[in-house]
Symmetry: C2
Subunit: 633 residues, 2 copies
């Protein structure tokens, strides 16, 4: 039997690091997104997404505008709004959510079909071009939103719409062949199954997964030709079966390839399905791909998808720092995937990955003020070329306000506002704590309070508020080499297995587990096959990866050298960054700029103070050069 | 008064390194090119270039095939064939050249117009789309071929065709505004002027240069719209005025930008024009751009044009090794440019650049057997991604046989077969020797024999065969730190200025100047602004730059580390490479591949023998990884 995440409604986060970020979601980002969707921010790219629904409902005139998958922005916002309402009741927001759901309901066709693009523009072409048209993708997001609203706010209005939509999809695709061009419906259907218990939705998700890659030419045979029209806003070729992972049956896939978000949404659904059906082959494929991604295709920040072309994985060890794509959505999806993997096996690698993404690649996608977002998350930016020169057009040195393709901001919003659901799992014997994020959890055994000074200080505490026997399983992050664990200030016995300590006892009220550990600065090196990192080192402390940003340095970023034996000390606050943030300071070296481009004499570097800041906080001050990997010498 | 190159007909190369390569041109490459142009090599991409002329002459049926500038391949082959005939008389080749010229003559229109694409396909659109249609570009190459055939073989058949063509161009563009979309006609007109003395051609070249950039919108105003048709085979936008350097008047251009070959052909003509007209402003622009290119935008091999997108310069110090474009044609054009710069000022920097390109970036464009060619010349190839993964599609690890766009192979052929003209210059007081390439030269003062053991051994000798007073000026390559110069085995006085020694005396018959110098292995470092080379070193010996190729190593190329103080020794022969070639051997280190992608412990490298070979000889054995820049540690 698999272990189950403790649902969001049973977890309340109270954490020095994450609570302010959740408040940023409820108070700034989610309202801001709503304004964007309603075209109320003149300086941002217009979204038109709400208006598309009004037009589809026949309540407004005009043309559909935006990406063919524009509906998914509304769905993702509704999902985030559901979490926001769970975090912080807000009658006005609740009313606007209901109004929006009602509007969606008025767009739904009598047969359950729901998609504004096809309702407004091409009603005759529904479900005809699964490769490009994202109807199943949008439906999947709608299902996620409907489930979230129901589970976390008790509203069943969108859920009912979604049940009709899901039934319509099942009616159609249970009989007819069809696979989605962008995986996501599988996640939505599985969530709907978990909530409703209706096995039809689970089996429909399985069917989509099982059909995929059985016939590699499927999209070629079933995609209508339409010269000049590209629904995705770019050229998706039916021949490019690697792009959407439809070349090989899912159980036989060996390495991550193609569009990273498609790959990871598929893996998320596969992992969920594997635990639902106890399908060993599916589980093995998930493990194999997890291993491939994290050990061969992932940046040290957690970013994945090295190439801007098709936002895709490329080849093992191909991880160029300065042209990195590393879409924010892909890092969010890595958390989804890892979280599903925990259901089958509480392995520290999955919790470690969630931690890595949360504190680094995913979090860096957002400005500290919650209003600007990165789509692309490079590990090195050079302002002379970033965003401008050929090959670097996608690598922006500043977060833009909004995007025409606005997938990343709402993905971050729904992740952070629902962070509670990633913290705890349980089964009939265990309670698992995956992340050191302060929170109060209602388990099946009773309430546990968890207090944390993480990520800046290695002190966490679990206080049990009831009397019962169970096993408390706490994930110890892989960077923690040594720790002291006490119960009620006394040393205690525990097992350590796969990155979790297991403490079994008859717990008493107020029993307190305390964990203490150092957070030394770590130097991180890569396998030499990563060509771009040869001779370089990155710095981390606890879960936080660091970078060197121009704003803090006494010499140009790309002239800095970190001596092998340099002492690295912590300091704070860092000028113009939040007070709690801890910087690193060290005595390094700098190479002077030379008069000649090439020289036969090695210029001796001179001493130079160097400062590193958490990577997630980069690009929050003036625009400048940045690097995660620094030359070691 | 400027100094003049000693014309090719007065120079005969006899050199251990270059004579075999010239024989390769006459015996292999130029005949092979001819077969390609005649579609006689089934395994190579069809060229169809000769057949286009037959169709245009009404002597064959069928359609025009190939690039809109396909004619230029025939022109460049004719130019190379002219040099080949000068090197090695060949009655059959001479006859085929005459037949081809006669065929070209039959394609020429009564008004002098000559271009098979427009004659066959769009006679109504002649001269209407200067941005894309390459008519002036093809004409420029035809003029170069006509001049070469006349100067170096005495044939005036193509020259007469070219005079009619040039007159036609002058008739049209002396009155009407017009600038070429791809610079080259300016070089051709100036060469025709040098040969005929007709100042009209010089002035036409000057007019093309002077008009350029005066009206930045010129191409936008004068390019007909034609959706779906792209004459260049790719999208050239009239708005992209940087691409063809038409955004700013030529005298005001400050850095090299846009398409590298366009930029360099323009600079070649500008430098020639500056020396013709003693135009200080034009000369200053040439010097400024020479400085910008060589000190900020040139790879250590001499390759230029960092970006595959538009084959273009990008930004100062943006020189990624693994995505380098570095078109062979651009390196050939760098030699043209430097050679013209020598006319105004015998400065060692120009001769150094010719040497760098000749022995490295340009020469690497060709397989040792003379039959395969690189268009792109990277400094790092990783066979897991090169030619395949996104961003590396253009970086091939092997030279292909031929290209649809076949500009590079004939450019190399005409360079190497006419190498004699780059060696010597003269004026009324001096004879200048620019390169240590063994040769016999007829100067205005008499014959000088030059013998050289370069590039492998630092010994050269000049033997004067006449009695006269003049100054012998010998370029000392910048890598030569110390040298011993004797005349008739006795130390002698000389001046050293701007990289040339000046020896003035009343020379006697058999007077012999001997120069001796060491060729130590040099470590080369870059300015730290070149991000991709941080912490890395390249090796050179004399004019030869080295690289590390998989075929020679005892450990994977990208795991190699060269210790700061490693002794580097020479050896030879290198297995499976020509006997004369000198390799480098050193005791280095290698980092083992790691189990984990990222690790907090620095793996200690182990000892490992490392081998470097001349860069020009890379990719002549089995396909494998290669790097010029090696980690120093």
């Amino acid at each position: 039997m698999s272990i189950r995440p403790v649902p969001l409604k049973n977890v309340r986060i109270a954490d020095n690091f994450w609570s302010p970020r959740q408040r940023l979601m409820t108070d700034v980002t989610i309202p801001y997104m709503e304004q964007i969707l309603r075209n109320e921010i003149p300086s941002a790219e217009p979204s038109h997404a709400i208006r598309n629904f009004r037009i589809a409902a026949g309540e407004d005139s005009g043309e559909f505008y935006g990406m063919v998958f524009q509906d998914s922005d509304v769905a993702k916002w509704l999902e985030a709004a559901a979490y926001s309402l769970a975090l912080k009741p807000d009658a006005a927001l609740s009313r606007r959510v209901d109004e929006t759901v009602a509007l969606i309901g008025r767009c739904q066709q009598p047969d359950g079909y729901l998609n504004t693009y096809f309702t407004v523009k091409e009603p005759q072409n529904k479900w005809k071009n699964l490769l490009e048209c994202h109807e199943l993708y949008c439906a999947g997001h709608m299902l996620e939103a409907g489930v979230a609203l129901y589970e976390d706010t008790g509203k069943d209005n969108l859920l009912n719409i979604c049940i009709r939509l899901a039934n319509h999809i099942c009616d159609r695709f249970e009989k007819e062949e069809g696979i989605p061009g962008h995986q996501e419906i599988e996640i939505g259907l599985l969530r709907l199954y978990h909530t409703t218990g209706n096995i039809r939705y689970r089996d429909m998700a399985l069917r989509f997964l099982n059909l995929r890659g059985q016939e590699p030419d499927w999209f070629k045979k079933h995609t209508p030709s339409h010269p000049g029209v590209h629904y995705g806003g770019y050229d998706i070729l039916p021949e490019d079966t690697v792009y959407n992972q439809s070349d090989v049956p899912v159980r036989e896939q060996k390495t991550a390839r193609g569009h990273a978000v498609r790959q990871l949404y598929m893996l998320t659904a596969m992992a969920d399905a594997a635990s639902e059906t106890e399908d060993q082959e599916l589980q093995a494929a998930c493990e194999r791909l997890f291993e491939n991604i994290t050990q061969k295709q992932m940046y040290v920040t957690g970013a994945v998808g090295a190439s801007a072309y098709h936002e895709s994985f490329t080849a093992d060890y191909d991880l160029p720092s300065d042209r990195c794509y590393g879409e924010t959505c892909a890092s969010v999806a890595m958390i989804f995937f890892a979280h599903q993997m925990l259901k089958n096996h509480p392995d520290g690698r999955y919790a470690d990955l969630m931690e890595l993404e949360l504190y680094n690649a995913a979090l860096a996608g957002m400005q500290l003020d919650g209003k600007r977002f990165f789509y692309v998350n490079p590990l090195e930016t050079d302002i002379r070329v970033s965003g401008k020169a050929s090959g670097y057009e996608h690598v922006l040195p500043e977060r833009p306000q909004w995007y025409t393709c606005a997938c990343c901001p709402p993905n971050l919003a729904r992740l952070i506002s629902s962070l509670g659901k990633y913290l705890w799992s349980e089964d009939d014997k265990h309670v698992y704590s995956h992340l050191f994020i302060g929170s109060k959890v209602n388990t099946r055994f009773g309430e546990i309070l968890m207090e944390s000074k993480y990520p800046w200080v290695g002190e966490v505490r679990y206080i049990v508020s009831f009397e019962k026997e169970f096993t408390l399983s706490i994930h110890i992050p892989s960077h923690v080499q040594k720790f002291i664990l006490t119960i009620n200030r006394k040393a205690t016995e525990y097992q350590l297995r796969d990155g979790y300590v297991y403490i079994t006892r008859a717990w008493k009220k107020e029993d307190t587990v305390e964990l203490g550990f150092d957070l030394p600065v770590r130097r991180i090196y890569t396998d030499p096959r990563v060509r771009s990192c040869r001779g370089k080192v990155a710095l981390a402390r606890g879960p936080i990866l660091y970078c060197f940003e121009e704003a803090d340095q006494y010499a140009p970023v790309f002239s800095l050298i970190l001596p092998v034996n340099a002492d690295i000390s912590t300091f704070g606050p860092v000028p113009k960054l939040p007070d709690d943030l801890i910087g690193l300071c060290m005595e390094g070296k700098t190479l002077e700029y030379q008069e000649q481009l090439y020289s036969s004499t090695y210029a001796e570097p001179s001493s130079c103070r160097m400062i590193a800041i958490p990577y997630f906080a980069w690009a929050n001050r003036k625009k400048g050069d940045m690097t995660v990997w620094i030359q070691q010498g």
